[in-house]
């Protein structure tokens, strides 16, 4: 990157470090931080949407919809979230391929599951074997985003359901007395008021979401954990201009600090937002 990096063997001290930290592979590490951030920015609103749908479904008067909602809300309590992550990535992939298989190759005779194999026709493969590398990476990332959204949607549904229950019942009854029907009560009275009650839970969820991002590594995405392992491993002089021993401990120390700072800043900002929003509200935590 810098001009003085032309001959790494002659470098020492700070200039060696500057050159070392700006090699092409390290650039990949820095890019993967952007991957994490974009995952957060895409997942948070999607999960909120999933959660809102789940919580509304759990309150539905139509029984099957209510059951779907309640199961969605309840299931994450009993089962480790990592199991969901590992499950959904394969299940979603196979689900998509199965649907495409039904559409593109309707006259395929053989069964899709043959012993230990899952076989769909060539046209149904996702992504197509002919597509370039970046399509594969984007597809993997997209699967990860959907998985995160489903799992955190269930958490968010939990929080939102609690918040909906926390809205004083008298408010809803008053609205009904004024002649609003169910839908109007929901959208005009319940939803605007529930956010205040949901905010502490949702801020908690945001911090949890940040702390869940390293699990991207398990989903096969080349994220910061992947690059930290990759770059930290012992490098011999034969293969690289910057030989070093096993430095993984330092890379992971870096990641540890990165996450500590990230969650700490988030918590402080969210606490401020929380104080600001609850100003003048009739709750215990509110400031006058």
């Amino acid at each position: 990157m810098f001009e003085f990096c032309a001959d790494p063997a002659s470098l020492e001290g700070a200039s060696w470090l500057a050159c070392y930290l700006t090699t092409g592979k390290h650039m990949n590490l820095y890019w993967s931080i952007l991957t994490v951030l974009s995952l957060l920015l895409i997942t948070a609103p999607t999960a909120l949407l999933f959660g809102f749908a789940g919580a509304s479904a759990a309150r539905s008067t139509f029984m099957p919809v209510r059951w779907v909602g309640q199961v969605y809300v309840a299931i994450v309590r009993g089962v480790p979230d990592i199991a969901f992550f590992l499950f959904f990535v394969i299940a979603l992939d196979q689900g998509f391929e199965y649907l495409r298989h039904q559409v593109f190759c309707p006259d395929w005779a053989e069964p899709i599951r043959q012993g230990n194999d899952f076989i769909v026709c060539k046209a149904a493969k996702l992504p197509l074997s002919t597509s370039p590398q970046w399509v594969h990476e984007v597809y993997g990332f997209m699967l990860a985003v959907i998985t995160f959204a489903i799992v955190f949607g269930a958490f968010a549904a939990n929080v939102l359901l609690g918040a909906m229950r926390a809205v004083p019942h008298a408010q809803l009854e008053t609205a009904e007395a004024y002649g609003m029907h169910r839908r109007q009560v929901f959208w005009r009275i319940l939803v605007p008021q529930m956010w205040l009650y949901a905010l502490p839970g949702l801020s908690n969820l945001w911090v949890i979401l940040i702390k869940a991002t390293p699990l991207l590594f398990l989903l096969g995405v080349e994220d910061i954990v992947y690059w930290a392992r990759e770059l930290g491993g012992t490098k011999h002089a034969r293969y690289t201009d910057y030989p070093h021993g096993d430095w993984r401990i330092w890379y992971f120390l870096g990641l540890l600090v990165f996450y500590l700072v990230f969650t700490h800043i988030s918590e402080r900002v969210l606490a401020k937002v929380n104080r600001r929003l609850s100003r003048g509200q009739a709750t215990v935590g509110a400031t006058p």
Partner: protein, 267 residues
């Protein structure tokens, strides 16, 4: 091969007793049930030991954080912040490579194994989360109780042991039950985070993902794993409910703390 011989072969496979080779072809549902259940031994091992050790450490940390002496308060605060503010996954990775470095220096070589090293991380982690819960409960103990204890001449260790500690536990038990459940769930991370599973002796999720890889069918092993964990969760709730009953024994029934399952503490 009947299911009974499968159970004989694989029921204790995760601790190295039984058949060495894992099933590779024609994997039956029975084999998946047995091996995933066998892996659960490790989840229970990590969970129970981390809870036991973490409980005492958490009590000390909570008292430390509540202390007026900065020399006691600061370290406790930092410990809690460090372990609650960073992902458990990264903590595992960092700890593993730190233990590797120690091993190279000739110190505590046994810590690089999951059974010891990962357990240590889990103990510290759950201690930090529980300490925060206990600290909240310490602040919530009714002033009158402590003043009454003072009036009766309680002080020092006796006051803590007879008055403060039981109240703290009673007030925090609901949240602590949740912490125990999520600790059980967190134990599934161990073998995905650098700590090696020697001779394929892994935990429940390790075997579940092994089967998902081999059969390329996630719809059997993961629901089995889910069933086991729901069962484990129910056992935890049952046991903690017993303790909760004992902690609330002296109170009239309308003042007792109920265990509320909340989703406020995952890593």
């Amino acid at each position: 091969m009947s299911c009974l011989t499968t159970i004989q072969d694989y029921a204790l496979r995760s601790i190295g007793i039984g058949k060495r080779i894992l099933p590779t072809t024609d994997i039956s549902v029975c084999e998946q049930f047995t091996l995933i259940g066998s892996g659960l031994i490790w989840n229970v091992y990590f969970g129970v030991l981390a809870l036991l050790a973490g409980f005492f450490l958490a009590c000390i940390l909570a008292l430390g954080k509540n202390s007026n002496t900065a020399a006691l308060r600061r370290p406790s605060e930092w410990f809690i912040f460090l372990f609650r503010g960073s992902p458990l996954f990264i903590q595992f990775f960092f700890a593993y490579f730190a233990f590797l470095a120690l091993k190279k220096a000739g110190l505590v070589p046994w810590l690089t194994s999951a059974q010891a090293g990962a357990l240590l991380v889990l103990v510290f982690n759950t201690a930090a989360y529980s300490a925060e819960i206990f600290y909240g409960a310490l602040r919530a103990i009714p002033k009158g109780d402590v003043e009454a204890a003072d009036a009766y001449g309680f002080s020092g260790w006796k006051k803590f042991r007879r008055i403060v500690w039981p109240s703290m536990l009673r007030l925090s038990w609901s949240a602590y039950t949740n912490e125990a459940i999520f600790l059980m769930h967190a134990t599934t991370l161990v073998f995905f985070s650098g700590f090696p599973a020697w001779q394929q002796k892994g935990d429940a999720l390790y075997y579940a993902s092994y089967f998902a890889d081999k059969t390329f069918n996630p719809f059997v092993p993961y629901p089995i794993l889910a069933a086991y964990f729901i069962l484990l969760t129910l056992v935890v709730i049952g046991l903690f409910g017993l303790v909760n009953r004992r902690l609330n024994k002296h109170l009239p029934s309308n003042q007792r703390q109920k265990i509320k399952l909340k989703l406020n503490l995952i890593r």
